[in-house]
């Protein structure tokens, strides 16, 4: 039988960092190392399975006019390809559009799955204390991994298009020779700062939203009155709608900036 303290500790907590940080779901040991599977890794697997099952089913219909969820997926993909990628990449859109679509839908699914309070639902249904679901993009390692993938994608595509020597020479614009070392150094530093900012932007937006929601829920525990609970839940509803907008915008920004960096690497204009 769970005490009242523990009952409240799943639905609302004092520490706002508790519901957003990673928690171990399963631990097994390989030799002398402990391998911890955290709930963020579990959410990444859930997102992967969701996308691998839903998207092929959605776009499977062979009629000329798409219906239902296939229409949604197809219109989003058309927007990303025609309005976002084609003005930047021009004639090489089709080579990189698979990567861009994958990044967009993956980040979007992770953000939206983070808004679903799955551990609270499981607790209310079964009564078991657990930490199964969480905002997966609120983990700097997961967004860092996606930014590293975008980093390697830009440079490998640039090297494959222009050859290694021409790619390294064309990193900087043509400036007079006495200022070239500083400009080249700045370009190299920019190359390494870009994936860092990609990761930090997505991570900080999502985790700021979730910390704010956790603080507002925790206010109910601090005040312990119905009036504060009413105001708090109303503002949580409004903030969750804002968080849904932020989820879409951040997924679009991630895909757009990846496209922009790839276009810098494969364009032969410098």
């Amino acid at each position: 039988m769970l005490s009242g303290q523990l009952y409240a500790a799943i639905l609302a907590e004092f520490n706002p960092l508790e519901p957003v940080g990673p928690a171990p779901v399963y631990t097994f040991s390989v030799g002398s190392w402990q391998v911890i599977i955290s709930n963020h890794m579990f959410m990444v697997s859930v997102a992967m399975l969701f996308l691998m099952i839903v998207i092929p089913i959605a776009v499977k219909s062979k009629s000329m006019i798409p219906r239902g969820i296939g229409n949604l997926v197809e219109s989003v993909c058309m927007f990303l390809r025609e309005e976002m990628a084609r003005p930047l990449l021009r004639d090489q859109t089709d080579k990189y559009i698979g990567f861009i679509w994958s990044m967009f839908f993956f980040v979007l699914t992770l953000n939206l799955l983070g808004m679903v309070p799955s551990e609270k639902i499981i607790y209310l249904l079964t009564g078991k204390v657990n930490r199964f679901g969480g905002p997966a993009t609120a983990d700097i390692y997961i967004t860092g991994a996606m930014a590293v993938v975008a980093f390697f994608m830009t440079h490998i595509s640039g090297v494959r298009r222009q050859g290694l020597w021409h790619y390294l020479v064309n990193l900087a614009p043509k400036v007079p020779w006495w200022i070239m070392p500083m400009i080249y150094f700045l370009e190299v530093v920019t190359m390494f700062v870009r994936p860092f900012t990609l990761a930090i932007r997505l991570f900080a937006n999502i985790i700021a939203g979730h910390i704010l929601l956790a603080i507002l829920i925790g206010l109910i525990m601090v005040f312990k009155s119905y009036f504060v609970a009413g105001i708090s839940i109303f503002s949580i509803v409004a903030l969750s709608l804002l968080e849904l907008l932020v989820a879409f915008i951040q997924a679009y920004i991630f895909a757009f900036l990846s496209t922009l960096y790839i276009s810098f690497a494969v364009s032969s204009e410098h």
Partner: protein, 91 residues
């Protein structure tokens, strides 16, 4: 995992006093002033541009969102430094 930075800095001898917490909170306010000015400026220019040429509303709105998200990225990077002091530098 989220406290690793804090543990590393605490073992290096960082001490969080009351002045540090006050400075972090004031820093958060200053950051938000800067971000508010920047994104408000972008929004105002975007509305002016849409008023000049209403048929370009889609492109202008998208560009405004991209610029606002870039500013927010820098804002949250600075806010993360404030969070470092407020939440994670505990021994």
């Amino acid at each position: 995992m989220i406290g690793m930075t804090g543990v590393m800095l605490a073992e290096a001898g960082a001490v969080v006093t009351n002045w540090a917490i006050a400075a972090a909170a004031i820093g958060c306010g200053l950051i938000i002033i800067g971000a508010g000015f920047g994104i408000g400026w972008i929004g105002s220019k975007a509305v002016d541009a849409i008023a000049r040429q209403p048929e370009a509303e889609g492109r202008i709105f998208t560009t405004m969102l991209i610029a606002a998200a870039l500013i927010e990225g820098v804002t949250f990077f600075a806010l993360a430094i404030c969070f470092l002091v407020l939440f994670w530098l505990r021994g």
